[in-house]
Amino acid sequence: MKVAIIKYNAGNIYSVYCACRRLGHDAVITDDPVVIRQADRVIFPGVGEARAAMQHLNQTGLADVIRGLRQPVLGICIGMQLLCRHSEEGDVDCLGIFDVPVVRFRSSSKEFKVPQMGWNTIEKFEKTAENDNSNRLFINLHEGDYVYYVHSFHVPICSYTIAQTDYDGFYSAALHKDNFWATQFHPEKSGPVGEQILRNFLL
């Protein structure tokens, strides 16, 4: 299987590459539209700032490449946020795959620090019909499994939500629409649980 990891001006891309390698997949980190389009799976990862990232994606034409992908795509963290309609981070229009806004955590108490940094639980996986594969990410996982988060912005619960997490209220831990999946957490940093999620995506 050919796995393309989209290279752009965001950090933490090498970790995703390493995680794919650990699972036996020889992924490539690339910004070449041809390689990306021909891949069997595309991962859109990253840690970064939304406005700067969108500017880069628009200038390089990668924005249109990503919008046009037909194979399974997995957005991770800022990658997930960039797949949404708009981000409050830098007040920027994003790729619009998921027609939802990305908003800042507005902490109601000192208990909830921003950024949320660390391990939190994922729950309420979407139950789907037999031949609908929208919950494929969570095969062999359990409600309450811990995953690793680092973020100041989040996607509220919406019609695309396939798993949720509680941090001063519930928000979207993962999204799905057609061939696009996305996780706010970092599967590549989430130990065995994260490895299972990546394995499921790369099935």
Binding site: G11, N12, Y14, S15, C18, A19, R21, R22, V47, G48, E49, S107, K110, K113, V114, P115, Q116, M117, G118, W119, N120, T121, Y146, Y148, Y149, V150, H151, S152, D166, Y167, H186, E188, K189, S190, G191, P192, G194, E195
Partner: protein
């Protein structure tokens, strides 16, 4: 619910772990990669690797090491030591580190925090602070691993670091470090309550009760320790079960 984090800290010199490690019959205890994998399997939530190498050649070894850690360890890790400028940060993040920790260099030139936050995002930047409670009742910050006193103080410096874009504060109490008498819970609680970013407590861990206290009394978001883990005095799994039994939310 977000879990409280337990973080083993490994000192690395010229590519090998410095302190003896005796928690298992473990042949590669000197190999920071193998050790990190072991801790990860035992349930550590994150790792901190501190490069205490002085030479330039050692720095290159450390960067290679970071690349190997990233390749093999599937939990987040922070690297610190010898980070003076943005290019050091760039090199270490590109090698796969999740966060960098700055200490003396940020005290000398606070703009470094701003630069890291603007270039890489605030979540990448941990501001480590070594401070000592002096006779006048003030927590004074120290440079160079606690060797050189400064005119900066813990609370005002932590606030400035937060404003400049630090994503976390890693506070080591020099009074408590190595004492095994518990963490600096009063100062930690004040830091945690005054700041809006996570606080990692360091210095003083000796028993499981100390970890319970640092979360309950010190309001810490994470607790870091070295020798109690390296010498097997507190097995990771046992610690987490104990904390869970006492109502602390931990990842099991």
């Amino acid at each position: 619910m977000l879990a409280k984090r337990i973080i083993p800290c490994l000192d690395v010199k010229d590519g090998t772990t410095v302190k003896g490690v005796q928690f298992v019959n473990f042949r590669d205890a000197g190999d920071p990669v193998e050790l990190g994998k072991q801790y990860s399997q035992m349930g550590a939530d994150e790792l901190v690797y501190l490069d205490i190498t002085a030479s330039h050649e050692g720095r290159r070894t450390f960067t290679d090491l970071v690349r190997r850690i990233a390749a093999e360890v599937s939990i987040p890790f922070t690297v610190g030591g010898g980070i003076h400028e943005l290019s050091d940060v760039e090199r270490l993040l590109a090698a796969g580190a999740d966060k960098v920790s700055v200490n003396s260099s940020a005290l000398r030139r606070p703009e470094l925090i701003t630069e890291i936050a603007e270039r890489f995002g605030r979540q990448e930047c941990v501001c480590a602070i070594d401070a000592r409670l002096e006779d006048d009742g003030q927590w004074r910050c120290y440079l160079n691993g606690g060797r050189i006193p400064t005119q900066r103080y813990l609370f005002e410096w932590a606030h400035e670091a937060q404003e400049r874009g630090a994503g976390e504060i890693l506070f080591t109490s020099m009074n408590h470090d190595g004492s095994k008498q518990g963490f600096a819970n009063d100062a930690l609680a004040r830091l945690s309550d005054e700041l809006s970013i996570p606080i990692i407590a360091s210095g003083g861990a000796g028993t499981k009760e100390h970890f319970l206290d640092v979360f309950q009394i010190g309001h810490a978001d994470a607790a870091l320790a070295a020798s109690v883990f390296h010498f097997g005095e507190i097995p990771m799994r046992e610690l987490k079960l104990y904390l869970a039994d006492h109502g602390i939310n931990v990842r099991l």
